[in-house]
Symmetry: C2
Subunit: 204 residues, 2 copies
Amino acid sequence: MNRIDIPRKSIYRLSIYQRCLSRLRENDVDTVSSEALAKAAGVKSTQLRKDLTYFGQFGTRGLGYNVDALAKTISEVLGQNHLQPVILIGVGNLGSALLRYGGFRKEGFDVVAAFDIAPKAQADLKIPILALETMPEFILKHQVKMAILTVPANSAQGVTNQIVDAGIQAILNFSPCVLDVPDQVVVNSVDLAVELENLSYFIR
Amino acid sequence: MNRIDIPRKSIYRLSIYQRCLSRLRENDVDTVSSEALAKAAGVKSTQLRKDLTYFGQFGTRGLGYNVDALAKTISEVLGQNHLQPVILIGVGNLGSALLRYGGFRKEGFDVVAAFDIAPKAQADLKIPILALETMPEFILKHQVKMAILTVPANSAQGVTNQIVDAGIQAILNFSPCVLDVPDQVVVNSVDLAVELENLSYFIR
DNA sequence: AATTGTGAATTGATTCACAGCT
DNA sequence: AGCTGTGAATCAATTCACAATT
């Protein structure tokens, strides 16, 4: 099974399984069946098992999965066995909110710096807010590969081109637009307005 | 074609097309081909056309789509022809960030109130922050059908049960957990950590 | 000539059904 | 006996190919 053939959705679900596993660990559960874990993750047990087989065999027939071992394996597969540096670009409302959010570190991501066209220090933030011009050098120097993009739609593509040139390989995009990137760069877009719009279709 | 048979992804893409159309309108473009619109939305033209046929025929062969007319049709399909009231629950870092964000109103959503277990007025916010106990009454009184959930994972299910009981039909969930809701309630989850984790798989 | 709309073909994802271990 | 792992079957989404229309 080639890395490239693995459905993106399966990889996505691995993160969800991971979260369920950490909750099990907190509760000192050491073994879990595909049935139970799948239920916690909101999927079918066959799907969970199929997802896992893309990466190997981790269970014991008749028994289930070892919680610790499976969590460790998934974190290796997802490449998050070490703290990953991330930068954030665009310190507007949403950007500064995310800086304050802090939920990333727990999951192995370290927001090391933020950039803005008009940087102004925010006393309550521990993260330095730097001028956009210094960004390429920073990326290079700190070997940053991931970026969170929270700039207005009209500057999103321009900034994207810059960060891709500087060596960014993965972008979490909150700007409400479609980004054009080279094949080797991966983008996950979260469009808050689109999520709400989509919901409004379903209410009657 | 039954409303229920329409792929959720098609409905989701409608919102994206909508955004591209408004940009075209701003630029006074009045006709667009499926090819051009699809490109702007980051999809194939056949997919765009297929998506639209779930709802009817809106184009002119040989010519393309009328930008205004298509935008109007999509907004009707999505049920966003009038301002939709929305409440936000959980005014922590992420919650207050979203309140400040303001990008929702432009898309036809009006965040009318926020609720928290320990409400404290935030001077810079125009939206009232109310006690959680007053929520059911508020939902009923203002006929609110949509909620944005930004509470910690451990209280998410409890709050969900409350708002569903009170009449909420659609939830945009930012809490990192799987919500259990009745069939007629629809949930869109945005898990920021999962999005980042997922990206980290792709960088090597 | 250009472009939509759509059945048919294809590709992809999920679920079934059960063989294989412990 | 219980539960995983997986090929086969099913179901769903996307793309193709082209007829229909302006």
